[in-house]
Point group: C2
Chain length 321, copies 2
């Protein structure tokens, strides 16, 4: 492995000069530059980026934490992140946690061990206080409402308002037995949605039915699970807010195998506006995930003060309400 010193020797110049031509810095005479270039060519010289990074104290690498890489929601966020990373000459290491604290800790450790310059957490399992401790080692941005936080950046959807408007929409369409399906029961996004749900019911003087809340639904297959549960209910919901179009698609498909008609017996509103929603004509709230991913990246490399950026959802009316 030939290094910068070897090249210097071969070209009869100093390492500084070599470094200068590598980095295209000015103040190098044309002849020396060519001598260096020739030497590099001859020796098939390759810069060692690890050394560059050590010397510069940064890695041009950021960490991206997702619970599941193979899920369209996170896939779209990653899409946006990747897009902007390329433009800024960054790369990213993907850390799939499966909502396992140890995996998440690993990402945090990479930050303090200077393997990565910053960290994007698309969904977390650790407490915000734990994460905040690592802020001193590098920029951290999370994908949830952290408006109050003065150290952690955030890019988010106001899920309280989104849920509220979805509920109102269904209410106006005449539905009175509205339930919802989410992924994790914990997590701040779920918290805000639950809050909206309860506030809405109170406001409309509707009863809270525990059996109308379906949790741990992430994928297509989980739709079947939801429908099975509904089938067992004596008092069934007549509309469902589903925090993922793929789950919504799963529910609709499962319904088609039963006597439940959509939307006559069960109205469905999805979230994200994934391709599958368009394909199946699912009424949904579009979330600008790719754009959010782009912002997540831009924020993580920005050195300025903490920022919080809110995004909005857009109702896409189709045939499931």
């Amino acid at each position: 492995m030939t290094n910068i010193r070897d090249i210097a020797r071969m070209a009869n110049v100093s390492v500084t000069t070599v470094s200068r031509v590598i980095n295209e810095h000015p103040y190098v005479s044309e002849e020396k530059r060519e001598a260096v270039l020739r030497a590099m060519e001859r020796a098939d010289y390759q810069v060692n980026m690890t050394a560059v990074h050590l010397s510069q104290g940064k890695s041009q690498l950021i960490g991206v934490v997702v619970p599941f890489a193979n899920h369209p929601y996170f896939g779209l966020l990653i899409e946006g992140i990747a897009k902007k990373a390329v433009e800024s000459n960054y790369h990213f290491v993907l850390i799939q946690t499966n909502y396992n604290k140890e995996r998440e800790q690993e990402a945090l450790d990479m930050l303090r061990h200077k393997q990565i310059d910053g960290l994007i957490i698309c969904s977390r399992i650790s407490g915000l206080d734990t994460i905040t401790k690592y802020r001193q080692y590098g920029k951290i941005v999370i994908c949830e409402n952290a408006k109050g936080n003065r150290t952690i950046d955030s890019v988010y959807i106001d899920h309280y308002q989104s849920f509220l408007s979805a509920l109102k929409y269904l209410y106006e369409k005449g539905y009175r037995n509205i339930g919802y399906s989410i992924g994790r029961e914990t997590g701040s996004n779920s918290y805000f949605r639950q809050q909206a749900y309860r506030d809405f019911l109170k406001q409309k003087d509707l009863p809270y039915q525990e059996s109308f809340v379906f949790t741990e639904n992430y994928n297509l297959e989980d739709g079947q699970k939801v429908v099975n549960l509904i089938q067992q209910l004596f008092h069934k919901p007549d509309a469902l807010l589903v925090t993922s179009d793929v789950v919504a698609a799963g529910i609709i498909t499962a319904c088609n195998h039963t006597n439940l008609r959509v939307p006559e017996d069960l109205a469905i509103i999805g979230f994200d506006n994934q391709p599958i929603a368009k394909m199946m004509g699912i009424t949904t709230f579009e979330i600008p995930l790719v754009t959010m991913g782009e912002k997540l990246f831009q924020q993580v490399i920005r050195t300025t003060s903490t920022a919080h950026q809110q995004f909005h959802v857009t109702l896409i009316e189709r045939n499931t309400v």
Copy 2:
């Protein structure tokens, strides 16, 4: 930023000793070890992995090249890679190429610049000869049949045989106007499939119809495209091999919006056995993508000689044939 030398000073020992306790090497007296530990605690010492990596000449990082991260096929490969990477204390940087040569080149460059120790190419656009040149900088494993290659490792499906058995299956079911849908027209996987298709037709004395081959289909939405094309055909295929369950799902959904009945008017066989195939009852060939991902990773960190590992597909009979 406090470093190993500071700790040594604080604990009144040499850097060697500090290094020893950090890496849990033997030959350190209990009292010195504790002194070091205390100093590290007091100063909130954090190892700088970049320095470790420079010193050791490796990064514990591998590169993973995919055309699209947000696609279930690659999502499952990544799933498998991630699983094994964790176990081996490796991380990976994800490089999404969109089948853009420059992006792919970037990954190759990371390898020769020692930013990554090895490279997994899930699907490529560059020529194999180009890639081979980079083998000298680190291990490379690709996800396609490269049995002959003596430097590049591979993990693959015999797409020739898979396609052939799928065609035979359809033939035995009585279909005589079989077409197929693939992603890229180029690429070795496509080549083998095309070969199988042509050989099969010849063997059965069936005519080759250019209009029965549908290319550039990757996603759900592309299914609609295929159906639109079929609708315009006077002589329509009565069965389709579709190299992705999501595309198959898209085709079926699009058919439901037309007068085409599946499988009466058009039989469909998918590939991968994705969740959506199960959900929609699509007959498909299961590809062990997660397992293949695991193998891809194991091969990339293995220092032994070049290996080529073949995997097999399994027919899953459901309702679309």
